[in-house]
Every structure is written in structure tokens, then in C-alpha cells.
């Protein structure tokens, strides 16, 4: 029973359909796995044992009546704590929302429920999705299942770690500058940022409205395609959502798995490789490109000269939008209320200020101040205004590149997982983790990261990023599936964190023999 947690979601879906297992059995298995390892991994901020089991029971009942609601009916899923879940705490990794229970569901969550996926719980994240390491969570960091002393990436480290540690077969994350893809890279999992507007943002607590997207976090390409199809599609509650049907991503994944890349032009982005990229990361990337060539792809080098300004544009646009988005956290309607000490009969303003100082962490404060500055009269044109122009230039770079290539590729992140605490005092060094992922968010094009092998120098996962034109998410899945199949062929077996290789019966897996599981 315990090897249920090792199987892919697609596999589990088949097992459910074939009567081999039940959703309750699956859910229990994953809850037990969470109990066993999450004390060390800390992927979850909240586990909804009863809710998940009730949903699992309902799924089994539907199936018994011959009415499963979809392919993934009964397969459990974890949800990043930035998405509103009715009745479940939603903290966005922040103290300012400690204990907040939304009275409504995000559209993505509604779609998960309607598709019958039991929701295991909410996963950890950098506070308000600001970060690349999940170290900025107010509730303590998540630990990379590959090495508990290392970061799992961010901001969606919780979802990626949960999936990497087999605590959930599927998870939903959000990506504003790489927050799905970069954790995917450093935890050896698959993560997809859909085309902007491809997945509803209603109920997704906004960081940067013009950049945010929710997407799948899984262990395989096919699993991501299945989940993407559940959560994607037009939402009338989101004015920025695309009003066109999704291309068939599952079909694309299947087609890709056959391994034929003939006629596909793969563009290597000059500005996103080479200097600044850890040698092991670069090596795995180059090998993966070669695998695509071996499968019949034509490789071209493309240049996107304005990508060098992407980081600057991003760190102006994001804080600007975020500073406005986070203004609503003012102690009046929900969340934390802190009354300033030593003040007689404090007024609303004083309570707001004290609450926001106590409730927001350092990185959030940094970005709010930065954003307030960039939007200030006198500075708007030079900063926010300019950044929006650079965005245009970046979009044009993509458009030009996509004339000579069907997909663009790069390493997902410049390094493997660094140690916890290593970059905390150097915000700029931290920001550099997103250097390859940010351009896609600025232009709104879709991107995917899949595991491309372990770096030689440290044995840690690396990620391969695939980018496609807007609305062409299917290309990600096709090329990704081809590469995945080729890599699996080379490795013989999927790469899993070393402590977990011998199976889950030996508990606690992620702790040394004489250490107690902390839970």
C-alpha cells in the first residue's frame, strides 16, 4: 500500500479506474507519508485530514455509482497557500493572515473540487510569493527533500517539496518570476507556468497581477498536462483570462513521448546560458539539448538582447503592483490586528501602521517600499513607466526569436539548491535565481521546467526550461515529454532524493535513525 505514494498521478488515476485502489486508500497513504516526513520537510502549513478523507469518500461513492467526474477524480492534490480555499486557512506564508479562513474558493480550487481531487492541505511559500527559497515564509522554511539543509526553491518551495518527497502526487503552485519553475529545477520535479491568462487568477492572492499565473507542480510531464487541463481555461470572474479553449495538452504530452522531434526547431537563448550558470547545471543542459537533437530537433542559437534588463524591469513592476495589492492588509476587515503599545486610544492609522510592521516580513517590506518609490510622482516615468517599456522590448525579443524557433530553451535556474541561510542577507544575490525564468512572465509566454539530471559537483537536481509562444502551451508538453522520455531512458529510473530510494517502510525516511520525527 505504501508504494502508492511513489506512483504518478496518471498511474493512480488508472489504478482508481481499474478498481485496484480507492481514493480513500490513496488519501490515507499520502496523509501517512505526510506524517512520516513533513516534520523534516515542512512542505505543508495546513493538512486537512478530515476534509481530504471526506472528499475521498465522496469520490469513491461517485466511482461506485459509475459517475467519476473526470480522469483525476480521487487523486489527491496539495495547494499552495496563496490560493483561497473556503474553510481552510490561507496565510500566503504571512503572519498578517495568520488564521484567516476565506469564505470563498479560488476558481482553481473550485475546479479541483469539481474534478474530484481531494485537497490534502496548503503548502508553504515565501511570504506573499516574494522570494526564491521559501526562507521568507513567516512559518519557517521548507527543506529540500534532496538535502534538508538546502532550500527547495521559491516562492513555491512547499508544493515542489511535497511532490518531490512523495507527500502528494500533484500540487498547484503559482509563478510570477519563476516560483513554480525554479523550485521544480532544484527539487527535481516538473513545474509549468501557463500562458498568462491561461489559468484563472480569481482567488489567487495577487503579487504582481500582470505577471502571476497558477500552474501544475508534478513529477511527470503527463501529470502536469492532466492537472493543467483541470485548472486551465476561461473564467468570467477574471477579466484577464483568455477566452479561448486550451489546446489539448495531454495529447501533446502523449505525442511527445513517442520521441520524434523531426521538424521542431529548438532555440538556445544566448543570454540565458554560459556565464553565471553553475558548470553542472550547464553540463546537464547541454546534454539535454543534445538529446533533443538526437530525437531529430534542429537547434539554433537565438539572441534576446533585452533579456539582460529583465531582472531590473521585474524588480520594478512587481514591487509596484505588490505595494498596491498589499495595501488591503490594514487590520480593519480580516487578518492580524496589532494595537500599538503605549498609545492611548490609538486611531485607525496607528493600528494600521503597527499591524503592517508586525505582520509583514523584511522582504515584503523591502518590496512595498520599493514599489511605493517607483510609483511616486516624479519617479513613475523613470521607473515603472520605463519598466513597462522594457517589457515591450522583451516581448519583441521573444517574437523575433519565435520566428526562427518553435520553442526556446535554457537552464531553468543558474545554480542547484543552495544552503539555507546562504543568500538571506543579500537580496540581489537572491534575485539572481530568477534570471532565466523572469523573461517569460514579463512577456506572458508559457514556460515549463523538467528535471534534467544531477549536477556532478554536488549531486543536486538541475532543471531544463522550455518556453513557447503565448497560447502554444502544447509545445511545452510535446518537447518536454520527448526529453523526459529520453532522460528516463538514460537514467533507467526516475531520479528521487537519495534518502527516499529504499522505500517508505523505513520511517522516518528523511531523518537519521536516532532522530525523532518532529511533528
Amino acid at each position: 500500500m505504501s508504494d502508492l505514494t511513489r506512483r504518478t498521478a496518471a498511474d493512480l488515476a488508472d489504478a482508481l479506474a481499474g478498481g485496484e485502489t480507492s481514493s480513500v486508500e490513496l488519501t490515507v497513504a499520502h496523509l501517512e507519508r505526510i506524517d512520516a516526513v513533513d516534520g523534516d520537510v515542512h512542505a505543508f502549513l495546513h493538512v486537512d485530514r478530515e476534509g481530504a478523507l471526506a472528499q475521498a469518500r465522496a469520490s469513491d461513492e461517485r466511482r461506485a455509482a459509475g459517475n467519476p467526474v473526470g480522469r483525476l477524480d480521487g487523486v489527491p492534490v496539495a495547494v499552495k497557500d496563496v490560493l483561497a480555499t473556503k474553510g481552510l486557512p490561507t496565510t500566503c506564508g504571512s503572519r498578517i493572515l495568520e488564521g484567516w479562513v476565506p469564505p470563498y474558493d479560488a476558481t482553481v480550487v473550485t475546479r479541483l473540487r469539481e474534478a474530484g481531487l481531494p485537497i490534502l492541505g496548503k503548502t508553504n511559500m515565501d511570504e506573499f510569493a516574494m522570494g526564491s527559497s521559501t526562507e521568507h515564509s513567516a512559518y519557517g522554511p521548507t527543506h529540500n527533500p534532496w538535502d534538508l539543509d538546502r532550500i527547495p526553491g521559491g516562492s513555491g518551495g512547499g508544493s515542489a517539496a511535497a511532490v518531490a518527497a512523495f507527500e502528494a502526487p500533484l500540487a498547484v503552485g503559482t509563478d510570477t518570476g519563476g516560483s513554480i519553475r525554479q523550485p521544480g529545477a532544484v527539487t527535481g520535479t516538473v513545474g509549468v507556468k501557463p500562458t498568462y491568462g491561461g489559468v484563472s487568477r480569481y482567488g489567487l492572492v495577487a503579487l504582481a497581477n500582470s505577471l502571476d499565473q497558477a500552474g501544475p507542480v508534478t513529477r511527470t510531464i503527463l501529470d502536469s498536462a492532466l492537472l493543467h487541463e483541470v485548472i486551465g481555461g476561461h473564467d468570467p470572474l477574471d477579466s484577464t483570462s483568455i477566452d479561448q479553449p486550451l489546446p489539448s495538452l495531454v495529447d501533446a504530452a502523449r505525442a511527445g513521448a513517442s520521441g520524434d522531434m523531426k521538424g521542431v526547431r529548438v532555440g538556445v537563448v544566448k543570454e540565458l546560458t554560459g556565464e553565471g550558470y553553475q558548470p553542472g547545471v550547464q553540463a546537464r543542459f547541454d546534454e539535454s539539448v543534445q538529446l533533443l537533437v538526437d530525437a531529430g530537433a534542429e537547434v539554433v542559437e537565438v539572441s534576446c538582447p533585452h533579456f539582460v534588463h529583465a531582472l531590473a524591469a521585474y524588480y520594478l513592476i512587481l514591487p509596484s503592483e505588490a505595494s498596491s495589492n498589499l495595501a488591503k492588509f490594514d487590520a480593519m476587515r480580516y487578518g492580524l490586528r496589532v494595537v500599538p503599545e503605549g498609545v492611548d486610544n490609538p486611531n485607525a492609522e496607528e493600528v494600521m501602521r503597527a499591524t503592517r510592521d508586525a505582520g509583514f516580513g523584511d522582504e515584503v517590506k523591502r518590496r512595498i517600499i520599493l514599489g511605493t518609490y517607483a510609483l511616486s510622482s516624479g519617479y513613475y516615468d523613470a521607473y515603472y513607466g520605463q519598466a513597462q517599456k522594457v517589457r515591450t522590448l522583451i516581448s519583441r525579443d521573444f517574437a523575433a526569436a519565435f520566428e526562427s524557433a518553435d520553442v526556446l530553451v535554457s537552464p531553468t535556474a543558474p545554480t542547484t539548491a543552495f544552503k539555507l541561510g546562504e543568500k538571506l542577507d543579500d537580496p540581489v544575490a537572491m534575485y539572481l535565481n530568477d534570471i532565466a525564468t523572469i523573461p517569460a512572465n514579463l512577456a506572458g509566454v508559457p514556460g515549463l521546467s523538467l528535471p534534467s539530471g544531477l549536477a556532478d559537483e554536488d549531486g543536486l537536481p538541475t532543471g531544463f526550461q522550455i518556453l513557447a509562444p503565448a497560447m502554444a502551451d502544447d509545445r511545452l508538453y510535446r518537447v518536454g515529454a520527448t526529453l523526459e522520455a529520453a532522460l528516463l531512458d538514460r537514467w533507467g529510473t526516475p531520479l528521487v532524493p537519495p534518502e527516499l530510494v529504499e522505500g517508505v517502510d523505513r520511517a522516518p525516511d528523511l531523518a537519521s535513525a536516532d532522530k525523532e520525527t518532529v511533528r
Partner: protein
């Protein structure tokens, strides 16, 4: 232009309604200056004739019909409130003019 003084940070914190302590101000100002320095290149990049992009997708005219949708009950609306009185959100005294 990228130089940001402690006073400016204090003013911005004021605009953003965050009560930064002296220690925080001391800590933040140089960090912000470094960040701003690293992004100052942005002001020279785009020529005047480049239009800004506020949306990746060229959508326009997304409207809804003037038709009711179910909302929240008062209880749901007030469920997260730090303080409630007479089915309203109780907030500390507000200084300034009435709207």
C-alpha cells in the same frame, strides 16, 4: 537618482502605512539603495517611442452583464473581522474628513 536616504525611506514607509522602527530604517535604507543601484540601468534602456506594455495579452472590452450574482452572507463577510458590532466592521477611530 538611485540614492535613497533614510528620510526618504521613512517617508515611503509613511505612505505605505508601515511603522518602521529605527533599526529597520537603518537596515532597509542601504539594502534599498543597493537594489535601486542594480536596477538603475532601466532608465536608459527604452527610447521614447517604445510603447509601454501593461498587459501581455491585447485583450479589450471585457465586460459582464448587469445581472446579479450571489455574494456573501453578512456572517461570511464578517467572518475574518477583528471586531464586529451591529453587523458592521468595528474599526478604531478615524481621523480626517468624512467622505
Amino acid at each position: 537618482m538611485p540614492d535613497i536616504t533614510r528620510e526618504e525611506v521613512a517617508h515611503l514607509a509613511d505612505l505605505a502605512r508601515i511603522d518602521l522602527s529605527d533599526a529597520e530604517l537603518d537596515h532597509l535604507a542601504p539594502q534599498l539603495a543597493v537594489i535601486l543601484d542594480s536596477i538603475k540601468s532601466i532608465s536608459e534602456v527604452a527610447a521614447d517611442d517604445i510603447p509601454p506594455t501593461s498587459h501581455a495579452l491585447p485583450l479589450t472590452n471585457v465586460f459582464r452583464e448587469d445581472v446579479r450574482r450571489p455574494g456573501l452572507t453578512a456572517q461570511e463577510a464578517l467572518s475574518g473581522a477583528p471586531q464586529v458590532e451591529e453587523q458592521r466592521f468595528a474599526v478604531p477611530r478615524i481621523l480626517g474628513e468624512e467622505a
